[in-house]
């Protein structure tokens, strides 16, 4: 396959890479590109991952959407059962973030003062329970200083500074692995677990990322380019996982 990878293709591969090494756990990517990327990981290098249908079952389909009556159901997974999985740690979730800061604190509850918010969002949802119990990554389709920001107004998902305050015992299951955005991949692999620029997507410079970030990122001397999909991965994306290019609707060029 000789198609030139789109930004959305690269993002999907970057998401897939977040799940590398996870083995036989529930990969629970939320959002279009996360769902595509998670499926890509399972269809290629992490075949034992379990994945949801975004509702009440775990399904084995490689297709990311539109299963219709063709779901390959592996397990009945109503919300109650999902909490069993979360609290036992057998899960890596990729959530969205309206705000995320340099330690990976995430906000999806409200913008502005909580008691009378400027913008009421969804609520805390499951973010506190997710971050203290299982591995968490974030997907940001609109990397900007307002989203990847100096200070989140409400801490729903807890970051490394909060986890450190709790202590290594209480926070022993806490891990924020990556933040994948439309511009780059970020991680926390620094001595003080501040956010680091791990790679920039093809066509994006480190300066572009700095300009779109509301705090001082850790920038290594050499910032690699996010890897492009292999021919096999492109074939999976275009022919099996997301043939209608839903991923392209979430991230433009």
């Amino acid at each position: 396959m000789s198609a030139i990878p789109t930004r959305a293709d690269v993002c999907a591969v970057a998401v897939a890479e977040c799940f590398r090494g996870d083995g036989e756990i529930v990969a629970n990517p939320i959002g279009t590109i996360p769902m595509v990327g998670g499926r890509l990981a399972r269809a290629s290098f992490e075949p034992d991952l379990l994945m949801t249908d975004s509702e009440a079952t775990l399904i084995a389909n490689d297709e990311a959407f539109d299963w219709g009556d063709n779901k390959l159901v592996e397990f009945c997974n109503p919300y109650r059962s999902m909490f069993d999985i979360v609290w036992s740690g057998k899960r890596h979730v990729m959530m969205g973030a309206t705000q995320v800061d340099q330690y990976g604190n995430q906000n999806i509850a409200a913008i502005g003062p909580y008691t009378k918010p400027k913008v009421q969002l969804l609520g805390y949802r499951g973010a506190p329970g997710n971050t203290i119990n299982n591995t968490t990554s974030y997907w940001v389709p609109n990397h900007s200083p307002q989203v990847v920001c100096a200070r989140v107004d409400t801490v729903c998902g807890i970051g490394y500074d909060r986890a450190a305050k709790l202590g290594s015992e209480a926070a022993r299951f806490h891990e924020i692995r990556r933040v994948v955005t439309n511009l780059c991949v970020l991680d926390f692999e620094t001595p003080d677990q501040r956010m680091r620029l791990r790679s920039t997507h093809p066509g994006v410079s480190a300066d572009d990322v700095v300009a779109a970030t509301g705090f001082e990122l850790v920038i290594p001397d050499d910032v690699p380019e996010t890897r492009s999909p292999t021919d096999d991965e492109l074939r999976l994306l275009y022919e099996v996982i997301d043939p209608t290019d839903e991923r392209g609707r979430e991230v433009g060029e």
Partner: protein
């Protein structure tokens, strides 16, 4: 044998101002909307609502019935090409919060489960790691931690029991004694809502003979026992405009129209006059007429019992 059948208005007559009321379902899914509409029509006020919130919370806020919301989220589900259950913001709840009209008691989704379970089991709290380090401790002054009495001495969150004066849930089938059956994908936490409540009110798409329940679905779908149910309300399309799979899907067009009513006081007043200031029977007659006008051919393929379209099962 007790026949517990009631009307929606009978249920409202059992409720009082200031009560704490749990509402079953999740987002725009299997909400007891006919009971919510009955509350909207009533003079009740200052309610505390405990729920995995959807348009139930939005409607009650817009109608001025709510003092406080205890919740992990209030969101609507919307179909997008990539996901039939994309969570989107609930405009009326959002407006009420941003104008400072309702008090807010936030929880994590799992913490809400534990609070209901604790109330149902009659213990004051259940321990969990959920919430540690988060701003839930800033925003919800009820929350406390507890230290393990065992050798580990670990400090955990004590998820407080969430006692309910009444619970309102909507299921697919039930009998007149209060046994309830869900035949959709997820029970959500409806059994815990009933367990946590002084009085439980169960609305169902259809009341059937007890002997019929086991024919409607597997034994595993019989998850509400009558000891937790005070009253049964037969409410075909009672979850409208939320979904009640597999009987019917979400009424996407109606939900869109509902969402648009948050834009101005005038549009809300018009919606209220058209769809809320009327009896449940009149609401359902209007809904049927609108659905038949929208797609007369589909209207022949009833999924409940009224010669009436639900949206397609393929939606999920």
């Amino acid at each position: 044998m007790t026949d517990k059948r009631l009307t929606e208005d009978d249920v409202v007559a059992e409720l009082r101002d200031g009560m704490t009321i749990g509402i079953g379902g999740w987002g725009s899914r299997r909400k007891p909307m006919s009971l919510v509409r009955a509350i909207v029509r009533s003079s009740l006020r200052d309610l505390t609502i405990v729920t995995y919130g959807g348009p139930d919370v939005g409607l009650l806020c817009a109608a001025g019935k709510v003092k406080r919301v205890a919740y992990a989220f209030v969101a609507l589900d919307q179909t997008t090409p990539a996901n039939p259950h994309t969570a989107i913001l609930e405009p009326h709840f959002r407006g009420a919060r941003q104008r400072g009209e309702v008090e807010d008691e936030p929880y994590d989704e799992g913490m809400l489960l534990l609070g209901l379970q604790a109330a149902a089991w009659r213990v004051p709290f259940l321990p969990t790691r959920v919430g540690l380090g988060s701003d839930l401790f800033r925003d919800n002054p009820r929350l406390r931690t507890v230290r393990s009495p065992y050798a580990d001495g670990e400090e955990l969150v004590a998820a407080p029991a969430l006692h309910l004066d009444a619970a309102l849930v909507h299921l697919n089938r039930g009998d007149e004694r209060g046994n309830g059956q869900f035949i959709g994908p997820d029970l959500y936490f409806d059994d815990l809502m009933l367990g946590a409540a002084e009085r439980g009110f169960l609305s169902v798409e259809r009341v059937v003979e007890t002997a019929e329940l086991a024919k409607e679905g597997s034994l595993h779908t019989l998850r509400i026992n009558r000891a937790t149910v005070t009253g049964v309300i037969e409410a075909p399309y009672g979850a409208h405009f939320t979904s009640c799979e597999p009987d019917y899907g979400r009424d996407e067009e109606f939900q869109k129209a509902y969402m648009a009513t948050a834009k101005s006081a005038e549009s809300w007043a018009e919606f209220k006059a058209t769809w809320l200031d009327l009896s449940e029977a009149d609401y359902q007659a209007k809904r049927r007429a609108a659905a038949t006008a929208a797609s007369p051919t589909v209207a022949a393929g009833a999924r409940v019992r009224e010669g009436d379209p639900g949206s397609s099962r393929g939606e999920t």
